[in-house]
């Protein structure tokens, strides 16, 4: 059985036409200043390089604690300035600041936005939701097809260990730059996509290096109101080209306010807690002896989930200090016809932002009637059942601690001073091999618990 849902895909780029149209145009050559072989030679884009650090810098977060007067961090200014520039150039499909938004009364503080324009003009498309890992398909829309004007800057680690900015840096196809591009259907101000090593055309799949890049972006922006999110396939990612999303919203998210209960601390100091009194069950990762420790713990958990076909969403909050991981099963329930028509009628796709408490609503009626109860009811459907969550949680811990001990073994045996994380394939296949038997029976279909 193959599970599919029909939904209107989000238009993230002005070059994202309906697939048929796109194919027809491609025959006629490019000429649109994209990020493919045809247009890269000679292309120049701003380049921001960040400094790799060992620990999560305590002072980096400029709005940290009670510090409300620190100068705006540079990446923050760059991103805001570039985004506003694209707005004034009219690259977005609508002015998101003209969309009404509010905090829904209640103790959680869910936020609602009325966005009637975001999903117009596209026909519903079928999405396969029962496979978290799917191969990259160059025939479908991917970010190499966006116009260069939609790219704000290249974002990479610096070679000499200093933060640097080059207003006009050549795009070096060989070094496969990571880029930050606008989402032309923003759900809030500053909505961008971080596309790691864009030219490598990676499918939507977490690897250690890419996740660390996303974490660096949260740290570099240094603004607790700038959060990054990730949706796996089957958890409402619509484009199978590796990307993270991010935007500004200077209000605490309900998920950030939710109480947590500490569950365990890994050997490398990464603390894992569990959300409670929140409609979606999930884990919170923080701490760690080094930034890599935190990043690897979350990546390994995601790698485990994707290898075991469990759709999930990730929120990087608090300038990279807190990371929320939420396995989910909504799309699958939807495909199996287990979601009430009342919920489906709202057409809310519970991806990372919705799960974190920010609801984008398409109908005025839903916006006006938005209540904490409604939001809670929707999100409760997204969550794994308690029983299933406990099972997944235990396996995640095992995956994290296993890769940890494996890393220690490596340290004992390795001679070369190679700090690079082990290749994705290695970690992935080990997890796969180990976990296949453990999740047997549930791997096929999460809902049938």
């Amino acid at each position: 059985m193959m599970l599919r849902i029909k939904r209107v895909p989000t238009v993230v780029s002005n070059y994202q036409k309906d697939e048929g149209e796109d194919a027809a145009r491609r025959g006629g050559g490019c000429g649109r200043n994209c990020l493919q072989k045809c247009c890269i030679p000679g292309a120049k884009l701003p380049l921001y390089t960040f400094k790799r650090v060992e620990e999560i810098p305590g002072d980096k977060c400029v709005l940290e604690h009670d510090d409300n007067q620190a100068p705006v961090a540079f990446l923050d200014s760059l991103l805001l300035g570039q985004w506003e520039d694209r707005m004034q150039r009219g690259l977005f499909r609508y002015d998101v600041t003209a969309c009404e938004t509010k905090v829904i009364p209640g103790r959680c503080g869910f936020m609602a936005q009325l966005n009637e324009g975001r999903h117009l003009k596209k026909r519903p498309t079928e999405f396969r939701v029962d496979k978290v890992l799917q191969p990259f398909d160059g025939n479908k829309f991917n970010f190499t097809k966006v116009g260069q004007e939609e790219v704000l800057f290249q974002f990479d680690a610096s070679e000499d260990g200093e933060v640097q900015f080059f207003p006009d840096a050549p795009v070096d196809a060989d070094s496969s730059p990571s880029v930050v591009a606008i989402n032309v259907s923003p759900i809030e101000y500053g909505h961008v996509l971080l596309i790691p090593r864009i030219l490598e055309c990676l499918p939507q799949r977490i690897d250690r290096e890419s996740f660390l890049l996303a974490l660096y972006m949260a740290i570099e922006a240094g603004n607790p109101y700038f959060r990054l999110g990730y949706n796996s396939l089957g958890a409402f990612a619509t484009i199978n080209h590796l990307h993270f999303q991010a935007y500004y919203l200077a209000v605490p998210f309900p998920i950030e306010k939710a109480p947590t209960r500490k569950v365990t601390t890994l050997g490398d100091g990464v603390k894992i807690s569990e959300l409670f009194d929140y409609p979606v069950r999930g884990l919170v990762f923080e701490g760690g002896n080094t930034l890599q420790d935190l990043s690897n713990a979350v990546s390994d958990a995601c790698i485990f989930l994707q290898d075991n076909n469990i759709p999930h969403n990730v929120l990087i909050a608090d300038c990279g200090k807190r990371i929320f991981l939420l396995p989910q099963c909504y799309a699958e329930k939807q495909a199996l016809g287990e979601v009430s028509s009342e919920l489906l009628d709202t057409q809310v796709n519970p991806a990372v932002w919705e799960i974190s408490g920010h609801m984008v609503l398409k109908r005025k009626k839903d916006y006006e009637e938005a209540s904490e109860e409604n939001a809670w009811r929707l999100l409760a459907e997204v969550s794994l059942s308690e029983e299933r969550f406990e099972e997944v949680k235990a396996l995640i811990f095992e995956a994290c601690s296993y890769t940890l001990s494996e890393k220690e073994d490596e340290h004992l045996t390795q001679g070369a001073g190679d700090d690079k994380p082990p290749p994705l394939e290695g970690t992935g296949s080990i997890n796969k091999g180990r976990n296949c038997n453990m999740v047997s029976g549930t791997q096929e279909c999460l809902v049938l618990q």
Partner: protein, 382 residues
């Protein structure tokens, strides 16, 4: 991060309170700090004797630093967020918080913070934060096996050494150290401790109020006088260091309702000389009228525009102002303000961003601030 100039910090305290204030505060037995949110980095401007004793730092090591210096790896991020939100919204907060002494030892305390308003300005000038150590025996848990040792002084521990989930995860070895756990669980303060904190706050406030009388710059516990923009917006805008003003197109003659510190420095005016004025008060004899016309048109058309315009400071000296104007919408989606961002021609950015890009980044920050702050305030009124 280097501490801001100590001169500013001394001034923050001395310009508000008379000479005897320090002495009077030092006689109070309580642990507290006074911070100034208007100085970059929101530094501590006063620390009580009790506080220094409790934290193990000397006064010099604390003054000029941000309160986050006392946080450590196990300080709850969610609690830090609650404090951040209280500061942003200029309100009081009371919360249990894990802080660290100079020697690195953690301790639980009840953190109670309250804003102090300037009576004339109607804005927050200081925050007073009282810290009451939580001294309490840990409650035993239902599944009380494998409990850690009895408490260390000043700490409150309710965590069990191992739990089934930890064992399941196969990382129990990492967790078997009680010390790692003693600080994990949130520690609630008793009513006595809450009472102590409340009394301490009121003691400090009465000293501050009393000693502000003789300087003529009165402080008080409640906000007086209407502020032209909401307080949460005021705080968010205060973070943006560049020169800008907000004007309200819905009021007669489109007056300035907010002016940043950088703007006041650039133009040489005091805030009260600027608020309520139409932006044209910066123009003078040699200002080109077509530039003024352009500004007017862009406001009427509700569109952004950039002009180069000759402006005059209070001392009559003139400068070429690269002015960018843009409409700013609030959470209802309607235009609430126009922002004018000024860059004096010839000023250089250390990161190499063009003047245009610097202006746009200010516009972006302001759009986020206005939209987000009006989202929460509308929820409060409902």
């Amino acid at each position: 991060m280097e501490p801001p100039q100590l001169g500013l910090i001394e001034q923050s305290f001395n310009s508000r309170y008379s000479n005897w204030a320090r002495e009077a505060l030092d006689e109070l037995p309580d642990n507290f700090t006074i911070t100034d949110p208007c100085i970059s980095g929101h530094p501590i401007v006063f620390a009580s004797r009790g506080f220094l004793k409790m934290s193990g730092y000397s006064r010099d090591q604390v003054i000029g630093r941000n309160g986050r210096m006392f946080q450590g790896p196990n300080t709850c991020r969610r609690s830090v967020m609650e404090i951040r939100e209280a500061i942003r919204e200029e309100r009081g907060v009371e919360i249990s918080l894990l802080n660290y002494r100079k020697d690195g030892t953690p301790f639980w305390m009840l953190f109670r913070m309250t804003p102090v308003f300037g009576k004339d300005e109607g804005r927050v000038i200081h925050f007073v934060a009282v810290q009451v150590p939580i001294l309490r025996r840990r409650q035993r848990r239902r599944n009380g096996e494998g409990l850690c040792d009895e408490i260390l002084s000043n700490s409150c521990r309710r965590e069990v050494c191992s739990s089934s989930s930890v064992e399941l995860a196969g990382v129990s070895a990492a967790d078997s150290d009680c010390r790692a756990l003693e600080i994990e669980e949130k520690c609630e303060a008793s009513d006595t401790e809450k009472q102590l904190a409340a009394t301490a706050i009121s003691n400090v406030l009465s000293v501050l109020t009393h000693y502000s009388e003789s300087t003529g710059r009165l402080v008080c516990e409640k906000r007086f006088g209407p502020s032209l923009v909401s307080s949460s917006l005021h705080i968010s805008l205060g973070r943006i260091k560049q020169s800008f003003v907000l004007v309200d197109p819905h009021l007669p003659d489109i007056p300035i309702v907010y002016a940043s510190d950088a703007f006041l420095r650039m133009a040489g005016y005091a805030r009260n000389e600027v608020l309520g004025q139409n932006y044209r008060f910066l123009t003078g004899v040699d200002t080109d009228h077509s530039a003024l016309h352009q500004i007017k048109q862009s406001i009427q058309a509700q569109q952004a525009c950039s002009v180069r315009i000759l402006h005059y400071r209070k001392d009559k000296s003139s400068f070429w102002n690269l002015l960018h104007i843009s409409p700013v919408r609030n959470a209802t989606g309607k235009i609430a303000y126009f922002v004018g961002v000024q860059i004096e021609e010839g000023s250089v950015d250390r990161h190499g961003l063009s003047p245009e890009m610097r202006q746009l980044s200010v516009v972006g920050s302001i759009k986020v601030a206005v939209r987000s702050s009006s989202m929460s305030s509308s929820s409060k009124s409902s």
